[in-house]
């Protein structure tokens, strides 16, 4: 099964650090980086492959389209509301309300508080 990693975060430095660390876990993984959640959404809708396995690391607080809006769009789309998509929220927010809210989305498999650690990444991959 083809594993695809998507980093959705408006912070380019964070994306750079994250991709470095992910490659430390598995150097062969393909990582797509999106600084704009809408572009990530467009990509998924256009190129979604039922046979693939998508691991999305999703930031919450982003301009234009927030992580929540991205999740809503994914879950409202019959095509992308799919077992083959795993979303991990990656946020600097430690707000309990955010953590509880993320649990209401079936696509969300975990809530990770920034910064990411190698251990956490290893357990996900």
């Amino acid at each position: 099964m083809d594993k695809k990693i998507m980093l959705v975060d408006d912070d380019p430095i964070f994306n750079w650090v994250s991709s470095k660390m992910i490659h430390m876990v598995d150097a062969g993984l393909k990582i797509d980086i999106y600084q704009n959640a809408r572009k990530a959404l467009d990509f998924l809708v256009d190129n979604f492959d039922q046979g693939g396995h998508y691991i999305i690391f999703l930031d919450l607080n982003m301009p234009e389209m927030s992580g929540w809006e991205f999740l809503e769009a994914l879950e409202n789309n019959d095509y992308t509301r799919n077992e083959s998509i795993s979303v991990y929220i990656v946020s600097s927010s430690t707000d309990q309300d955010d953590i509880e809210k993320s649990k209401t989305y079936p696509l969300v498999k975990g809530y990770l508080i920034k910064p990411l650690s190698l251990d956490v990444l290893q357990s996900i991959m």
Binding site: D11, I13, F14, V17, S18, K20, M21, M24, L60, N61, S91, S92, S93, T94, D95, Q96, D98, I113, K114, P115, L116, S117, L118
Partner: protein
Amino acid sequence: MRSFGYNSPKGLNNVINKWTMTKDDMPLSILVIEDNPGDFVLIDDYLLEKFSAIKVIHHMSFEAAASEIESFKNIDIILLDLVLPDLMGEQLVEKVQEHSGNVPIIILTGYSDIELARKTLSKGVSDFLIKDEINPEIIYKSIVYAKERKGYVNQLKQEKKVSQDLFDFSPQPMWIYDPVTLRFMDVNQAAITKYGYSLEEFLELTLRDIRPKDCQGYLEQSLKIDQRDNANHYAGKFKHQLKSGQEIWVEIYSSEIQYRGRATRLILSNDITDKQHYIGTIEDQNRKLKQIAWTQSHVVRAPLARLLGIINLFGLEAGSSDDQRFMLDQIRKSGEELDKIIQGIIEQTNAMDLKDINNG
């Protein structure tokens, strides 16, 4: 001027009573104004027979008695012959009352003056006794009754004064209004001070005049509720307008009260303008605090998390010297310390349970 009809059977009764009945030991000072020495001797005798701790003062004329009342204040009862050498009848009663204040007066009279004596009752005289019928029991009963009644009347006056004082001197504005015309019937000093209208001005106004123009509809609505429920209750928060035009927020308590023989309503008005203002300020601060909590959680922590991420990555890269590792470790420790501080602020602001405060 008149003498008692004196017969022996009555006299005999008196003798028996002296030995068989216990005397009343109520302390008593009685002024007897009586010009007939014979009548006085009998009355004095009856009084001493019934009261053990009595002081009897005797005067023969109004003139003499008047100066006695002036100088001796502690007279409990005045026994007054309705016909004296210097004054008589209603005029006598009025003159004695001028001097005696509210000391109970019992009139002594003969059969021929009963009509006159009866009239004096309306002047505030306690009782009248017909001389020919006086005996120790009658005079005893009349005195005790007059004294008790005076105490009771004083108590009523006192209670009325207390109620009036509660209204007049209440630190919170109060008024009584006519539920039909909505006119003010009475207002207390606190209302006069708060609203700026004099008592005379208030009595020319209706409830509508202390409501701002845009709250008149609300007034009609709340009055309907007031009249329907008709009980004592908290009426709610209202906007009132002072004479100066300034608007204030008040809490109104309303209750039914009998006033001048009619069903009226008694209102207590509590100015909560400042309180409302404080609550508004607190709510505003509360919103800002929530904003700060959110900023701490999402914005301030973001660059720190990025910094810590880079440090993590840096530590994973091989090839650093011991010194570099030490320095990196110190940067990480400082960053983690800062993170703890931010987490602490977030926890504290969340612990205030801001949602509950807002809903309350």
